[in-house]
Symmetry: C2
Subunit: 382 residues, 2 copies
């Protein structure tokens, strides 16, 4: 899409309504689905997941920039996850006030004290970007956040290229439809999980999808589950309480649930305080972290994804700690940084509000997930 | 599937419930969808279409028998559709009592009188079979009916092989899952329609899907529409009243709707009296039949699919009329005939009821679609 949709097309209400009908049916047929909020654990009534009618044009150079910098981000997350001192220093102030991060951190400390099992960790990270438009009209890539646990929509996003292609075709924009790139994150996710399963090395072991009680977004997961079944790798959906009730470690710290050996635990849960509804949830988490099973992610990677870490990374000299001899990598990562502004009560928060009200289109609000606070994270005003 | 599912598996309620959950989600993701009855013209809430948890085992020889005989059935329908005398003789008694068939027949007569446009007719027929089990346990193929207009579920059926394969895999029956054949009637339907479009010979002309007011089954159609769009053949969904209001014939009897030339009219409507909600519906039907556009099906093929024709075909000597020099073809078709029993008031109907009550498992009830009566069509007691 070299150009956005022309105004005359966007103003043609009849055409737009027709295209919306086609788009909805196409999304439904392609499996861009969610359960409904009223019955989150039944698949009797489903809806299409929210999506845009037309795709957003992304300049080619920015797209390739995002692809290139992602590898650096992944290495960065991995280094942080293993840097015990950095995590401790960085999270000290958060731990003091926030019980959720404190409990995660205690598990991390306990695992280190006991001696980590010689297990494999798998990181699946999702970086979220927005395009920042300068006054001169030029666009730049700004990262809003990186998700290191339970990142969603890799499944559903695998089907949206087809939806947009079809909508553009029906809109009479055949050439635009051909410009939409393939995108199959579900295949990437299952390839990564299959590799972890293979490295674990037991043909009879299963991959657990650790899921929440409310399973509105189950279809997003099913893509990855189905891809794994195609590879003849068995998967099971379980909740913390299933692990607690039916799970155990053998003397070699192999994890068994309901007498089945577990090769990989894939967290689609466990990123929010409310996911831990009881002490049993925490006991289950600890058991999994202690085990030989591959964790996706392990507790260190989970902690590396906290907003506090992202804030600290923006301070001078911090990226250099992780890439001491790679100034180009540091530069590429830093180029995508945006400001993270606190919305606390007090002078710092007041300044943020003032700035946001002056240019509201330049900000997004993001929850501080590990603490339940809210902070503003947006494109830095130039 | 050489064998049906073992009893111990069918009695394992927990497993069956788990498999049902997997099956529903798989069907939904594969697009085995319907709109809900409450909102048949909106795609805001959808459900999975009914399907069986496990596939039905069909002996290989019977499967190949069905494939082979279908070509003969298609030729038979085509011959009947063009045999003016046979249609007149056969339908005379129906026309006398049934207004719907009478009106269809009048259109047929009028087209003949005016001189048929040199147009192409496309037949898409769906034969429905059941397996008849004899007392000695042997199975035989029995045709229940043939649908020559608006036959449904070619789209949704294209996705069920995947659903059954996945369910069997999750059930631990990998070898059975490999035995399920591919089946893609949607591809066959769109290939046929594309061929008709190509033979019509105008690149800018469209294919009309003539649809009902209630569009609960829209997803079934969308498969075929989407396949045609992939071939860059434009389709539009229209109702009788759209054709009436916006349609016209030019001096060469080319059909235009809303200034767009129509290459093919694909009937997903028009098979039931209630589809003709006004005189406008009949006027629209006549206009389409008069036109150069390819009709799928044309009025003769529609009439050839009436139950009355099926009943008469079972009489001695009738098949021979259409295949005078092909006794083997006659034999192959006749081998699949079942009895068609009238349920009229009177001695014939009484006899049917008595027979049906004596062996209810050997009968199905089918509506006499052209008349709104009900008749029994079932496996002939041996």
């Amino acid at each position: 899409m070299a150009q956005p949709m022309p105004d005359e097309m966007l103003k043609n209400t009849k055409l737009i309504n027709e295209l919306a009908d086609v788009a909805k049916d196409t999304a439904l047929l392609q499996g861009v689905l969610m359960r409904i909020q009223e019955t989150p654990n039944l698949s009797e009534l489903v809806v299409y997941a929210p999506f845009t009618l037309f795709p957003t044009a992304v300049p080619k150079a920015i797209y390739h920039q995002a692809l290139a910098v992602q590898t650096h981000y992944n290495i960065l997350v991995d280094k942080i996850s293993q840097d015990v001192d950095f995590l401790q220093e960085t999270l000290a102030s958060t731990i003091a006030v926030d019980d959720f991060t404190a409990r995660l951190f205690r598990i991390h400390q306990q695992i280190l004290k006991e001696g980590r099992a010689p297990s494999i960790a798998l990181g699946i990270n999702r970086s979220d970007y927005m395009l920042d438009q300068r006054d001169n009209g030029s666009l730049s890539l700004k990262q809003i956040e990186i998700n290191t646990i339970a990142a969603s929509f890799g499944g559903l996003a695998s089907r949206t290229p087809y939806v947009h292609r079809h909508v553009l075709k029906v809109a009479g924009r055949l050439e635009d439809s051909k410009r939409i790139l393939d995108n199959n994150p579900a295949a990437g996710l299952s390839r990564a999980l299959a590799k972890a399963w293979e490295l674990y090395g037991s043909n009879s072991a299963i991959i657990i999808f650790l899921v929440e009680k409310s399973q509105v977004n189950i279809f997003d997961h099913r893509y990855v589950e189905n891809d794994l079944w195609k590879r003849n790798i068995p998967t099971k959906r379980m909740q913390f309480e299933d692990i607690y009730k039916m799970g155990c470690l053998d003397q070699d710290r192999r994890l068994f649930v309901n007498d089945q050996e577990v090769a990989v635990v894939y967290f689609r849960n466990g990123y929010m305080p409310q996911n831990y509804s009881s002490e049993q949830s925490w006991d289950a988490r600890l058991m999994m972290e202690r085990s030989l099973a591959v964790k996706c992610p392990d507790i260190g990677t989970h902690l590396a994804g906290t907003k506090k870490v992202q804030q600290v990374l923006a301070r001078p000299g911090v990226l250099e700690r992780f890439f001491p001899d790679q100034p180009q990598v540091v530069e590429q990562i830093r180029a995508t940084f945006t400001g993270l502004y606190a919305l606390d009560m007090g002078p710092e928060g007041d300044k943020t509000v003032e700035m946001a009200l002056a240019a509201p289109e330049r900000f997004v609000l993001k929850p501080q997930r590990e603490g339940g606070e809210w902070r503003g994270a947006g494109a830095c005003p130039s």
